[in-house]
């Protein structure tokens, strides 16, 4: 009882998602919230009066750069495959301590946090490094390129939605997502099942519609600045979000996939707040442990998804009605939902920043001695983890500002992208402007929500 109360006062570092919240509570976070909301609202107003044509043209600009290597994707994927199984083996045979074993550290930090940022900022690295493509190419060379089975059309990418929910549940609700051996089992099974699916139904079909990591990373990479032209193989430089503005429309399952992605990282923040402790019915100073809150967290994760999806679809629907244009809800939502990507990436950055800074160091130490046998492969074994980078008022100030800039910037980019998309959907600029108002209001509210999550007291 006694010490159960204390941790919340501490700089929670390892695998926690918040910095030193006590110091953040002393910052004028309310001013940031008002300022952030005004900035997002103003950017909408300014865009309404800005000529849409030149803006869209600018965002369509592509600056050609080097030619992408045509070969090597299989080899790179094999390297990813080898790394994947080495890590899984470390999960089975290495230390049971999640801060010494490289599997949970590398998977949750450089991979899940880091690669998502790389995908969103730079480009689609996952296409190259994923651990299935190479082995699939090898096996399909023996068996022939044609897949024996086809996924039914009605299935769309709903399996990916279900798998993303399962993954988020594993990360946020399951009691021990960091346990090396359990994570190793989950990943090994997932790889095998996915590989079998790719062999049976074809790599592209499975990666586009079932394998949620490929779907997620593919969507996130639409925000990034590097674009690869499929035919010529040239790599071009785009403005952030440029590829989103001219993306096609997502089917309903894809729309909900994206909304789920934002919901999960939003709930990740929400479930740590005192506010949520009140809803779930526990004392925030006496957090009972994950196993005690499985039911409430599961419900909360689902409710967050339902609430965000309902709010988004309602905003799109009302916007359509207000504009007077007859655009189907699925079509409008399937295009405008692309504007969620920068928000999801901003949330991802903000919520994982603190954990990344500390757990990245643990990962660095762990890869040098993957089995805890005293090896020092890269000279980083026994590396002293500088947890103090999160401690104190200065760190809290820096981290809070980085988070606030990301959240506000992400929403401003979202407003811009939905603006460009809206002009494509609607018949006239006036109707496009009117039709966007509900979505812009939602984005202002979500900016407030995002900043509030990061400024609230947390367990």
């Amino acid at each position: 009882m006694v010490l159960a109360a204390l941790a919340a006062a501490l700089p929670s570092a390892a695998l926690a998602h918040s910095a030193d919240r006590g110091f953040v509570l002393l910052l004028p976070t309310g001013h940031y919230m008002i300022g952030g909301a005004i900035a997002v609202a103003l950017s909408f107003v300014i865009l309404v009066f800005a000529p849409a044509g030149p803006l869209a043209t600018a965002w369509e600009k592509a600056l050609p750069m080097a030619r992408a290597p045509r070969r090597g994707r299989t080899a790179v994927s094999f390297a990813g495959f080898a790394l994947f199984w080495l890590l899984v083996a470390a999960g089975f045979f290495g230390s049971g301590d999640p801060l010494s074993n490289p599997l949970p550290l590398v998977f949750w930090t450089p991979f899940w946090v880091g690669l998502t940022m790389i995908q969103g900022l730079l480009g689609d690295a996952w296409r190259w490094i994923n651990p299935w493509y190479g082995p699939y190419r090898l096996v399909s060379r023996l068996t022939g390129p044609a897949a024996p089975l086809a996924l039914p059309r009605w299935m769309s990418c709903w399996p990916a939605v279900a798998l993303l929910f399962g993954f988020a549940w594993f990360e946020l609700v399951y009691p021990a997502p960091d346990d090396p051996a359990r994570l190793a089992v989950v990943l090994a099974v997932y790889w095998l099942v996915s590989f079998a699916g790719m062999l049976l139904f074809g790599y592209e079909a499975w990666a586009d519609r079932v394998e949620f990591l490929s779907v997620f990373f593919g969507i996130v990479a639409r925000l990034s600045i590097l674009e690869r032209d499929g035919d010529s193989g040239r790599i071009a430089l785009r403005l952030p979000g440029g590829k989103l503005a001219d993306a096609g429309w997502l089917p309903p399952a894809g729309t909900l996939f994206l909304l789920l992605a934002l919901s999960t990282v939003s709930f990740d923040g929400l479930m740590r707040t005192f506010f949520w402790a009140g809803i779930a019915g526990y004392n925030p100073l006496e957090y009972p442990g994950r196993t005690a809150v499985i039911a409430s967290s599961t419900l909360g994760l689902a409710a967050m998804f339902v609430a965000l999806s309902a709010a988004f679809l309602a905003a799109v629907w009302i916007g359509g009605r207000m504009s007077g244009d007859r655009v189907g809800l699925a079509e409008a939502a399937g295009q405008l939902v692309w504007s969620i990507v920068p928000i999801a990436l901003a949330y991802h950055f903000s919520h994982y920043l603190a954990a990344f800074l500390v757990d990245g160091q643990y990962a660095l130490a762990a890869i040098s001695d993957p089995l805890s046998t005293g090896l020092n492969l890269f000279g980083t074994a026994g590396f002293h983890v500088y947890a103090g980078i999160l401690a104190g008022p200065n760190a809290a100030w820096v981290i809070w500002n980085l988070q606030a800039v990301a959240i506000v910037g992400g929403h401003m980019l979202a407003v811009l992208i939905s603006h460009i998309i809206a002009y494509r959907i609607h018949s006239t600029p006036d109707r496009a402007a009117i039709g966007q108002i509900p979505l812009a209001v939602l984005m202002v509210l979500y900016t407030l929500f995002g900043l509030w999550l990061l400024a609230s007291p947390t367990v």
Binding site: L10, S12, L25, D97, A277, A387, A391
Partner: protein, 435 residues
């Protein structure tokens, strides 16, 4: 297995047995890698003594867990460098309990059945101790906790659960009362979070200050969800001589700031527990108001002028500088008031194993009896926090407490309580329970 346990073991057994089938002791660090993977009972004389370290590596206890781990490793190294226990080296096997009671119980089970440890050790958070102790009792494995809670001494655990390396909160609260009444004042107002943690302080301190001729003139319980306190502060009576505060959680800094704004340069004397600001730099902006106020500390965070060689050696081995922060990373402030308990507990295990002639898991009951037979620990390299007495009946040690004043945003010890100041009437006797 009792009905209560079967639920969580059913949950884990499929996972564990699966791994066990495939890989043997899957997560044992290097367990199957070397020639050391022989059956334990056959080669125990040369085998290391295995200490299962039930660590808060993730979850809300992680910041504490990091320092508990550093202290544990430092003590284990010290013991091994000096020849180990009964000539056998110590091996620390760390498992994460996620600061979660159910996982805590699973970890105890894993330590016993999979890692074949000799003892389980090191748990800090009380709810994890309370969740894990029944499993330790069922599996008959000595469970040495470092949790500071009153639950061990209360008699609510079992004979396998002992707390020989850190005093409990009841003793801590009781022991500071005489000094407060004699030096700060007799009219006390208590501000505390309104749940079990705060209630312990209220219930233990109120009679203790009465016994000194003092009086708690007002109690100001604060709902745990509060993050601003200005509307509670007017409840502090103006005749208050001492404000006793034990606020915890992320809003502690806000609490201090608002106290400063409320009282300005006047106001009562203040006494708090460093638990509120453990691992937080006292020299942080906003905490200036604390200058001239007093805190309980289990072991001083800041190096003191009269530190013994044992204290200096302990601080150097754990790796903390004069400000109580990591020598490698001066912003990483240690949980100094509590983590010494890990060091001292490992040395208690050593002392008890040597007294019991401990050979292997078959001697676990003898180890408990040998621990219960200990009556005192002398101050020194093994017990740098100071000498202690141990009550084998309630499995709890009693020791000195430090009262420190904040001076120039540093903590300076102004009084050290006697061991007797913290003594209370034992309410249990574990030694009558069967082993």
């Amino acid at each position: 297995m009792t009905g209560k346990r079967s639920k969580s073991s059913m949950l884990t057994q499929s996972g564990l047995s699966r791994r066990t089938l495939i890989k043997g002791a899957a997560a044992g660090a290097g367990l199957m890698m070397g020639p050391g993977f022989v059956r334990y009972a056959q080669a125990q004389s040369s085998e290391p003594i295995k200490i299962g370290f039930q660590a808060h590596r993730t979850g809300i206890g992680a910041a504490y867990g990091r320092w508990y781990e550093r202290t544990t490793n430092a003590a284990a190294k010290m013991i091994n460098d000096a020849g180990g226990i009964n000539g056998r080296p110590l091996e620390i096997i760390t498992e994460d309990d996620g600061t979660d009671p159910k996982r805590g119980a699973e970890v105890v089970e894993k330590f016993v059945n999979q890692h074949k440890v000799d003892v389980v050790y090191g748990t800090l958070f009380s709810h994890v101790v309370v969740g894990s102790a029944p499993t330790a009792g069922e599996l008959k494995v000595p469970y040495y906790v470092v949790s500071e809670g009153y639950h061990v001494a209360s008699g609510k655990m079992n004979r396998w659960c002992v707390q020989p390396g850190i005093t409990d909160v009841r003793a801590q609260v009781t022991s500071v009362a005489p000094w407060i009444a004699g030096n700060l004042g007799k009219k006390v107002t208590m501000v505390y979070p309104d749940y079990a943690f705060g209630h312990d302080h209220r219930d233990f301190f109120t009679p203790a200050i009465s016994a000194q001729g003092g009086e708690v003139i007002a109690q100001v319980p604060i709902p745990p969800t509060e993050s601003s306190f200005t509307r509670y502060l007017p409840q502090i009576p103006s005749e208050t001589e001492v404000l006793y505060h034990v606020m915890v959680g992320p809003a502690v800094l806000t609490f201090v700031k608002e106290l400063g704004e409320f009282f300005g340069s006047s106001g009562p004397k203040m006494f708090g527990f460093i638990d509120s600001l453990e691992a937080v730099d006292i020299a942080s902006p906003g905490l200036e108001f604390l200058d001239g106020t007093y805190f309980w500390e289990g072991m001083p965070r800041y190096a003191q002028a009269d530190d013994s060689d044992a204290v200096k050696a302990y601080r150097a081995a754990v790796g903390i500088n004069d400000n109580g922060a990591s020598t490698e990373d001066t912003k990483d402030v240690a949980t100094a008031a509590h983590m010494f308990g890990c060091w001292e507990t490992l040395y208690v295990i050593k002392q008890a194993m040597e007294a019991a002639g401990y050979q292997g898991p078959q001697d676990r009951a003898k180890l408990i009896e040998a621990t219960e037979a200990i009556e005192k620990f002398d101050a020194g390299a093994e017990h740098p926090q100071g000498d202690k007495v141990f009550n084998g009946k309630i499995h709890q040690c009693f020791g000195h407490q430090n009262i420190s004043m904040v001076e120039n945003q540093m903590l300076k010890v102004v009084h050290r309580t006697s061991i007797e100041d913290g003594m209370y009437e034992p309410a249990a006797d574990y030694t009558t329970m069967p082993l």
